[in-house]
């Protein structure tokens, strides 16, 4: 930066330097005088003196280039030089002795030098002085007497007029320049004022030297109140300190810097750019300019985005885990079935040998016993595998978590006493009710207890506690399946439409493999894309078609995830582009609702979605609404509770006459007291487990036990069971300190059967 200014200056200087111009003009004067000396030497009074004069003048001129440039901008030096030259010209005329010659014309060159001062007054004063001297010289040498007196006398006003002409030109130029500068200033001012961010200038002490209107309105003061005040007058100490330190930084490094500051009073985030303001000639820092851009929105959206991303990542991880478990389960069950047949032959065959009397020999009997126990073990493994893979039809009921745990303890009592393990319990609330399939849930507790006993071997403590923990914000929406409440979406409505759409399109490419992915993306789109723009016009035909085919497929395959996906998509279609599309979508919802293979919960949810998302569109919309109501009624008679059931029903009743209802006022779920987990913690003080074990503990077939002791499926089954309960199982373990299992279950009044699948008869061919 510094270098650039210098080079720009040096490239201009030969043409615009005052010093150079003066040098060349005076050189010209010398040459002209020298010429006159040669031409008119005959009439010279004192030739030798004249040569000395020229040498002297040339000598003074040779000093000129050596003097520094800025001397010529100092008035005193400059005027002195011009006055000296005026005197020199007069002296020259006198020395040459040709007072009646045209020597006086050389003065016009001096006028040029004077004019460079751009000072009219001085120019005229200089000229006046020369006229006096020249007049006196002419008078003294007698030119003003005689017949040609008038011609000589006329020279004086001629010089005056000529000087005036010069004066006029420099005044005009000065005026133009001033005007240009003024224009430039005005446009710079307009530029700075037009910036919709506070722009200001500070000195090294953080004193305000300049502020623009935006800054003034931010501060809420008049210009006079702000100028020459310190930055800290208007800002918090922390902010001022930050500013000062960055300002010092700029001064120290001599380069711009930027930083983010936060105003806690206004909850305002700013991106501040500080740059040095340099003197154009010297390059020294004169002040610091500051632009402070409001980035509150960006910061907030970034945060919201990060939250949304974290949440989605979590959901995605869960879905991936779920898919993985299911795939492993399917494979395992296939293998298990294949093994059962040959195993049966072994079982019967060994018994047959026994029957035939081959067990008389002691060794034979032992062999038979060994084979029998091996087949028994094999069968146990198969059963574990099958149970793991089975989507059994859980029968959910309301269960007291305390009594469930106490029963489980009773079952393990024998083992516990044998291993000399103490059990302490703390049940914070009595009568904590959960929604559970008692047998399988108990199986989970037993499994964890058995693991603890086996891990501790001898002497140890197991602590069991239950408590209630409110859902976190993300869990609220998670537990509700898909929370369609507009308000919660608005919180995340931060990203641009385009970004959302590109993600949707990406998801659509993936959705063939995983409807879950699509669902996430759709929710994400809904989440990130604000309602302000039209939501469907950007969706291209491909998107629509894919969704449609997905929808048809979902109905055919009874694939509930896909079904849900389609419905969520419908929620994106809130402003359906035209009546035709609207009725097509309506027909599809209707089809889902009447499809016999869809379970009641699904009908219910469809009804909910249809009702919420599809209230505004003609006959089909109306039919959907009717269907929704009857689905709700049937759901109520079956005493099935579902997401936002009561609210929806209430909403429906109140809005029935007032069709169509306003979808934005319907919210899924409620802020009721049941919005919390029932948490069971089972903690032992055994040896704990290393991280890699802990992170794999819920993986199928992962075991650290010996072959006879376990199949490596116990905890996988446990995790699966808990998931089917709509809960979570977590593990905390530190080597040498113990292991803690935390099981979060849904309270009894929180109906959630979204992910339950109605399984067909597992015994079917």
């Amino acid at each position: 930066m510094q270098k650039d200014t210098t080079s720009a200056k040096s490239s201009l200087s030969p043409f615009f330097s005052r010093k150079n111009n003066i040098f060349y003009i005076r050189l010209t004067i010398t040459i002209v005088i020298a010429y006159m000396l040669v031409v008119e030497s005959s009439s010279m009074l004192n030739a030798r003196l004249a040569y000395v004069y020229v040498a002297l003048y040339l000598g003074t001129n040779l000093i000129i280039p050596k003097l520094p440039e800025h001397y010529f901008h100092q008035k005193r030096f400059y005027y002195l030089l011009a006055a000296f030259d005026t005197f020199m010209i007069a002296l020259g005329m006198y020395l040459i002795g040709q007072t009646d010659s045209y020597f006086f014309i050389i003065y016009f060159l001096i006028i040029g030098i004077s004019a460079m001062s751009r000072n009219l007054k001085y120019l005229m004063l200089n000229t006046f002085m020369f006229i006096i001297i020249y007049g006196w010289i002419m008078y003294a040498s007698g030119q003003l007497h005689g017949e040609q007196a008038a011609m000589y006398a006329l020279r004086l006003p001629f010089i005056w007029v000529f000087a005036l002409l010069f004066g006029y030109i420099i005044e005009c130029v000065a005026h133009d320049i001033n005007k240009n500068i003024q224009d430039l200033q005005e446009s710079y001012h307009a530029l700075v004022q037009s910036i919709d961010s506070p722009v200001f200038m500070l000195d090294s002490q953080c004193k305000l030297l300049y502020v623009n209107d935006k800054m003034l309105s931010e501060l809420g003061v008049e210009e006079g109140q702000a100028l020459n005040k310190y930055f800290s007058t208007f800002h918090s100490p922390e902010e001022s300190k930050l500013f000062q330190s960055n300002l010092d930084n700029v001064l120290g490094k001599n380069e711009p810097t930027q930083f983010v500051s936060h105003n806690p009073d206004k909850d305002r985030w700013s991106l501040n750019v500080l740059s040095p303001v340099r003197d154009s000639t010297t390059g020294a820092i004169e002040a610091i300019s500051a632009v402070s851009k409001d980035i509150t929105e960006n910061v907030k959206s970034e945060r919201a985005l990060r939250n949304a991303y974290d949440r989605l990542k979590k959901t995605q991880d869960q879905l991936i885990q779920k898919n993985k478990m299911e795939a492993v389960g399917r494979m395992a069950s296939g293998i298990a079935h294949q093994i059962r047949n040959p195993l049966e032959i072994v079982v019967l065959g060994v018994e047959f040998l026994e029957e035939l009397g081959y067990n008389k020999n002691e060794l034979a009997q032992e062999s038979i016993n060994n084979i029998k126990s091996a087949t028994h073990r094999a069968n146990r493994i198969i059963n574990d595998v099958l149970q793991f893979s089975r989507s059994s039809d859980f029968s959910f009921e309301t269960a007291d978590i305390r009594s469930l745990l106490e029963e489980s303890l009773e079952f393990t009592q024998h083992k516990l006493t044998q291993a000399n393990i103490q059990v302490t319990t703390s049940f914070k609330h009595n009568g904590l009710l959960v929604r559970a399939d008692k047998t399988t849930l108990q199986q989970v507790f037993l499994n964890i207890l058995n693991n603890a006993v086996e891990a501790m071997e001898n002497n140890g403590n197991i602590h069991i506690q239950t408590y209630v923990q409110p859902f976190s914000q993300t869990e609220v929406s998670g537990v509700r399946g898909v929370n369609l409440s507009e308000t919660s979406f608005d919180k995340y409505a931060v990203l641009g439409r385009r970004q959302g759409l590109s993600r949707l399109q990406q998801a659509l490419r993936l959705c063939k493999d995983s409807p879950g992915n699509l669902m996430i993306s759709l929710v994400e789109l809904k989440v990130v894309a604000p309602q302000t723009e039209q939501s469907t016009s950007h969706l291209d035909e491909h998107c629509m078609r894919t969704i449609e085919s997905r929808f048809v497929q979902s109905v055919r395959e009874n694939d509930f995830v896909a079904h849900l996906t389609s419905n969520i998509f419908l929620c994106l279609l809130q402003d359906l582009p035209d009546e035709q599309t609207a009725s097509r979508v309506g027909a599809r919802i209707l089809k889902t609702l009447t499809e016999p293979i869809v379970s009641k919960q699904q009908i219910h949810l469809s009804a909910f979605l249809g009702y919420t998302l599809f209230p505004n569109h003609g006959q089909d919309g109306k039919t959907v609404l009717k269907q929704a109501k009857s689905a709700l009624d049937s759901a109520r008679t079956d005493n099935q509770q579902i997401v936002g059931y009561q609210e929806l029903n209430a909403q429906y009743s109140s809005k029935e006459e007032n069709y169509p209802p306003n979808p934005t006022t319907i919210s899924a779920g409620s802020g009721s007291s049941s919005d919390s987990w029932v948490v069971v913690e089972i903690e032992d003080n055994g040896p704990g487990m290393p991280k890699e074990v802990a992170s794999n503990i819920f993986e199928p077939f992962y075991t650290t036990k010996q072959a006879e002791k376990g199949t490596g499926l116990g905890l996988s089954i446990a995790s699966l069971i808990i998931e089917r309960h709509g809960g979570h199982i977590e593990l905390e373990s530190k080597e040498g300190e113990g292991t803690k299992f935390r099981i979060k279950l849904l309270p009894a009044d929180k109906g959630r059967e979204i992910y339950e699948q109605s399984e067909k008869d597992t015994l079917g061919g």
């Binding site: 079935h337 059962r340 047949n341 195993l343 079982v347 029957e355 069968n379 059963n383 149970q387 061919g765």
Partner: protein, 127 residues
Amino acid sequence: MSSPKKILLVDDEEDFCFFAKGHLEMTGKFQVRTVHNGTDALKEARAYQPDLILLDIVMPDMSGDEVAASLLEDPKTQQIQVVFLTALASQEDKQQSSPLQNIGGRYFIGKPISKDALLEAIDTLLE
């Protein structure tokens, strides 16, 4: 003691048939014939007129379900008691007392099953 009950055992696992037949006949209470596919099973059921048919569900030519349906259509065989053998049964239910399960009016015996359990189940059915 009455005359031995006639049992038709249908399973594509010949070794299984061998041992099961062995166990059943050693009790002296049963007379067992075995066939290894659905087509033979239908023929044999008409010809042999058994008291009970043990029918495997998964077989190469036709499934146990199809065989049972055909048996019901034929007046000569429709009165015969049928019990399905399956490797698909779940453990949980089996732990409950009897190896024999009645699901929707149809009887199932889950594999693997021990000799004693098999005999017990058949006795229950024939009573």
